[in-house]
Symmetry: C2
Subunit: 351 residues, 2 copies
Amino acid sequence: MHSNGAEKHAEKPNSGGGRRRPSGRVTLEDVARHAQVSTMTVSRALRDPSLVSPSVRERVQAAVAQLGYIPNRAASTLASARSKLIVVLVPSLSNAVFVETLAGVQDCVGPSGYQLLIGNTGYSPERQAELLQAYLSHAPDGFLVAGIDDSNAVRRHLAASGVPLVHMFDLTSTDEWSVGFSQRRAGYAIGKHLIARGARRPGFIAAQLDPRTMQRRAGYRRALREAGRDPGVEVLTKEPSSPALGGALLKDLLSRTPKCDAVFCCNDDLALGALFECQRLGIAVPRELAIVGFNDLPFAAVASPTITTVATPRYAVGFEAARMLLRIVDGEVPEQRRIDLGFELVVREST
Amino acid sequence: MHSNGAEKHAEKPNSGGGRRRPSGRVTLEDVARHAQVSTMTVSRALRDPSLVSPSVRERVQAAVAQLGYIPNRAASTLASARSKLIVVLVPSLSNAVFVETLAGVQDCVGPSGYQLLIGNTGYSPERQAELLQAYLSHAPDGFLVAGIDDSNAVRRHLAASGVPLVHMFDLTSTDEWSVGFSQRRAGYAIGKHLIARGARRPGFIAAQLDPRTMQRRAGYRRALREAGRDPGVEVLTKEPSSPALGGALLKDLLSRTPKCDAVFCCNDDLALGALFECQRLGIAVPRELAIVGFNDLPFAAVASPTITTVATPRYAVGFEAARMLLRIVDGEVPEQRRIDLGFELVVREST
DNA sequence: CTGAAAGCGCTTACAG
DNA sequence: CTGAAAGCGCTTACAG
């Protein structure tokens, strides 16, 4: 058998004789010629086989297989004004939370043939705005964004482009689409829990200080306030989270308030580091110090002691947000503009 | 000021009167009319400003800003046969190793304006083949793939497409491009280390069992063999890695060989779970049992005890592989076909 | 069920 | 430094 290239040249008489720009690719036209039908018919047979007769269908499929035809998305995007591309913006990929969210998105859109363009904003609103802008050139069918952007300029741009957008994690006002849960209530639940467990001097450590973290903190503080406690000592830093940082922040916290008997770590990575630091310092958890994390990452359930935390529906957030977006893209109008997926306080040995 | 849409309609006299397919988008033509030049000139001014006169440059920039012009990548891809898209295939995103590799790739290609299409193969060669095939329709300028695919059918497809591919992590034969390090030698280094530390009955636990894991194992076994030891007890499972699994595998290992005094966990997640399991079982690490992990994930340096492991150059693998690919795309021919970035055994408290 | 024409929004290849 | 023509490989909108 000849190579495809040779075969093609033999069959394509360089029609017209004008200046061509041969790409070397097998095109719809090659398939059409091979199957003895028009390009339109091949296009139909490929997009929706029920649109053509069985015999044509077979011939086209055979030609596609034999020539090794691969459709050119750029061409179909240009002609149809539909890219089958969905842009997903997340603040970080090192954070397992967003990776699972992406998995949810992927699992939802995969079957429909959509592909994902993943952007990492690095928790920066400016970067988020830049990325939204940049990705517009791909003519995506929709945007899925974790973390609200405050820039109105970008919003106007997006609105003008007409590309729909669904927010993930943040529950927005009802004039926008969003899927998430209440960070504030989750923080509140943790505060209540610590108090119920008898914590007298709870502390709070947090990193990154993104809006979601600050909402958790607000809920947590409200719980303390309602119980008649003051906010207690807090150690905050804008640095990115890591187990190492968790250990450092805990040490800092203890140096400021040695009688601290409980600590809410704004996420599980910090909690893991705090736990190891306690082991190193010989502090008994939870007897001397209770530890709470956030997210319920895989290690939380098997640490020693196991870590009390809040299980967040991150996979579901991605899946449901994608489902909502797909419906909007298809012209439907979802019943709810905001979907609250809730959360679950998982009480374990560390409190 | 009018909306862009209104302005556009006023300026565009629907030339020809033929059937148009108005997309509502601002196009190069709109910018050209606004700046009083041809579309070609606008195209040049945008791609390489030095190609046009200063005054034209300014007018074009002003028009772009005023109309909010966003180039259509589908159109430029189709016309230029260059997509500025690079496909990256990784086995998993839940594995921090590959996320850091992606970060390296991103940091390398970002400045050149390339965008990434990220595919998750889930450690499946079949899925990898499917994805390579599927992504070909985006006419990517290059492929970056972690994990070798054995399917020849796909290789032929790729070769026929002419899209260059660089392997990451696996150092391939010299007729292909690759950037990575020797998993085998890394495993060997661990074996030697455990023996040097006086381990008498070392065990091995592993999950996923991807090719890289098996190469580490092979190197590890060679070290034992050279020291005159038998391979010792091994507990292997195809399940995906997790800290929970690490604990379970360790228990399994100890039940089979209670006198085991060291364990090589094929990655840090497993090692973390094993460490916690030891704490739970009251086994002193390293006195009663030495633990070695692999990858040097962030928690390894702060665990209690800190975990001995092998630091892998995953970020650099992504960065250098991307750099190699970019050069190939630009028609250059890198001096080396395979780049070995090495690894580092990091000895800590757990051994 | 099938097809000829026109167009999507850019860039290449020429020409001046 | 600038531009008119043609083309990239598909799909839309008609027509039969």
